[in-house]
């Protein structure tokens, strides 16, 4: 009885320590965002308030502009990624393609290589082309980096569709293109939406590529967070970080609803 009880206490302590390790850093971020004054040796903020939230959410404030830039870039990145990935994913899933395995791997490479060395050279080319420091430049860098998600997941989504449904439509006289848009694409939609969410988040959170390609004119939320933090303005940095956290945590909580097991099991095949 006593052994069982001490076992339970040990387990409870372990869980609390783990919770502190995982939630503690996030809690510190929340504390900082509401701390109007916080200095040594005080263990908690000296005074709390929403003054910095007002500064960040002021319609003309730099943070709102960064948020708008970030969302614009993320939406454009999703558009570019889907436009090239839907045909590519379909071809990879359904058509006979020479060197199919190699092509799948090529899409993975930008994620599998240390990016900084690539971005410094891309920034140099972009400068020569005159698209350094433009939204266009940042969008195509983000899209190339996120293609592994959009191509692999759309391909898995197409692969998980029952071919008999397409054959049925074709037998009833629908053209291949009509079949694709009325049968195949709607059935693949959940997987395509999942890939779009991945791409959106990847772009929203991207720092390194934007840091090299977007400076000094394109100022996204991660860049604002970086400059506020390096400038010692922890309140602005923490609030910006919390804004970036919201979509990430929502996605973590709901990812399984978007990405069904039948699609997941075919990713990367």
């Amino acid at each position: 009885m006593i052994r069982a009880l001490s076992g339970s206490v040990t387990r409870a302590v372990l869980l609390i320590v783990l919770a502190f390790v995982i939630i503690g850093p996030i809690a510190n971020l929340v504390l900082w965002s509401f701390a109007e004054r916080w200095y040594f040796p005080y263990k908690l903020p000296v005074s709390y308030g929403v003054r910095f939230w007002e500064i960040v959410f002021r319609p003309t404030g730099v943070a709102m502009q960064s948020l708008a830039t970030s969302v614009l870039i993320a939406l454009l990145t999703v558009a570019v990624a889907l436009i090239v990935s839907i045909p590519a994913g379909y071809a990879l899933a359904r058509l006979k393609l020479p060197l199919r395995g190699l092509i799948m791997i090529i899409f993975l490479l930008p994620q599998a290589f240390p990016g900084v060395a690539i971005y410094i050279n891309v920034a140099k080319f972009f400068y020569q082309l005159g698209i350094a420091g433009t939204v266009t430049g940042v969008v195509i860098v983000h899209a190339s980096h996120a293609l592994v998600y959009s191509v692999w997941i759309t391909s898995a989504a197409f692969a998980s569709i029952d071919r008999d449904l397409e054959h049925a439509a074709r037998n009833m006289g629908a053209s291949p293109l009509h079949t694709f848009f009325t049968v195949t694409l709607p059935l693949a939609a959940p997987g395509i939406i999942a890939s779009a969410i991945f791409v959106f988040l990847e772009s929203l959170d991207e720092f390194t590529g934007t840091f090299f390609v977007g400076v000094p004119t394109v100022n996204t939320l991660p860049l604002l967070l970086y400059s506020a933090s390096m400038g010692g303005n922890y309140q602005i940095a923490s609030i910006t970080a919390l804004i970036l956290l919201v979509p990430s945590i929502l996605f973590m909580l709901f990812v399984e609803r978007f990405l069904k097991a039948d699609v997941l099991s075919k990713v990367g095949r």
Binding site: N28, I140, D205, F207
Partner: protein, 279 residues
């Protein structure tokens, strides 16, 4: 037949072109730039000599951080996934399953900002220790150095590897676990001798992906630790922003590709070995 193959190539072409223009070409360019003499453009190893001269400590430091962080991530992930698979206390299982995934989709730059405040001398971590009576206020030290980088990487990457491992463990044949347990093996021994060998490939894939990810991160070493020593990503950025020195920056880039290549080689050797062992 030929027609459908042509159509397939046509459909893949735009996506492929994007990756070739923005990844394959810059990659080839960076390798060429690393191996060419800055003044004559001829083949030369002078950039590597200079990179080694200036940054040998940072090369060793980078390797140490990513190897140690990968190892600690693997251990933490095995502990979490192992408990999720074999744990017997329902409330602890629920609590752990709810907790461990939080950092999964948190961007590195946000994780860096969290840790920059949490691990500071006057951060929430030390303050909690002081309040709990574990530490005296005079004993607190800042963790914002290599330890902070290590902690941030492990904190951020463990949920990812643990998620993959827990998935692999869940799809194992329960009979092997039950058999070991019925024969009297403890849960720890069953985990080490029965479960881990069967999820080895998944652990390897997760670890390699983490390794490469950590090797590519710029924000964490900049925001969490001081400037010396630092990771190669920071050195590359500095080489470009301060000197416009693409040759040495690209040489450092090639060194980081080599670290990636070695892990890829280990992976390929292991998966080929497995195929050979398969009946």
């Amino acid at each position: 037949m030929t027609e459908s193959r042509g159509l397939a190539v046509l459909l893949v072409a735009p996506a492929l072109a994007l990756v070739i223009a923005l990844f394959v070409y810059p990659l080839a360019f960076s390798v060429a730039s690393a191996f060419s003499d800055p003044s004559t453009g001829a083949f030369s190893l002078v950039n590597f000599e200079k990179a080694y001269e200036l940054y040998s400590i940072d090369i060793a430091y980078t390797l140490f951080i990513v190897v140690a962080a990968t190892a600690l991530t693997a251990i933490a992930s095995i502990a979490i996934a192992g408990y999720l698979t074999m744990g017997e206390t329902p409330w602890l299982l629920t609590g752990l399953a709810w907790l461990y995934r939080w950092p999964l989709f948190i961007p590195f730059i946000v994780a860096a900002q969290c840790m920059r405040t949490f691990l500071a001398k006057n951060g929430l971590m030390n303050n909690t220790f002081v309040a709990a009576g574990v530490l005296d206020p005079t004993q607190t030290i800042s963790f914002l150095d290599w330890r902070g980088v290590l902690i941030t990487f492990v904190w951020k990457q463990t949920p990812f590897v643990a998620l993959l491992l827990a998935g692999a463990m869940a799809s194992l044949d329960r009979a092997t676990i039950e058999a070991a347990r019925n024969l009297g093996a403890s849960r720890l021994r069953t985990l080490i001798e029965v479960v881990i060998p069967q999820v080895g490939p998944t652990l390897m894939v997760g670890s390699i992906l983490s390794f490469v990810t950590m090797l590519s991160v710029l924000s964490v070493p900049v925001m969490v630790a001081g400037s010396q020593p630092t990771m190669l990503t920071v050195d590359m950025a500095f080489r470009i922003n301060a000197y416009g020195d693409y040759n040495v920056a690209n040489a450092l880039g090639v060194i980081s590709y080599l670290m990636t290549a070695v892990t890829a080689w280990i992976y390929l050797r292991q998966s080929v070995g497995e195929r050979r062992d398969a009946p």
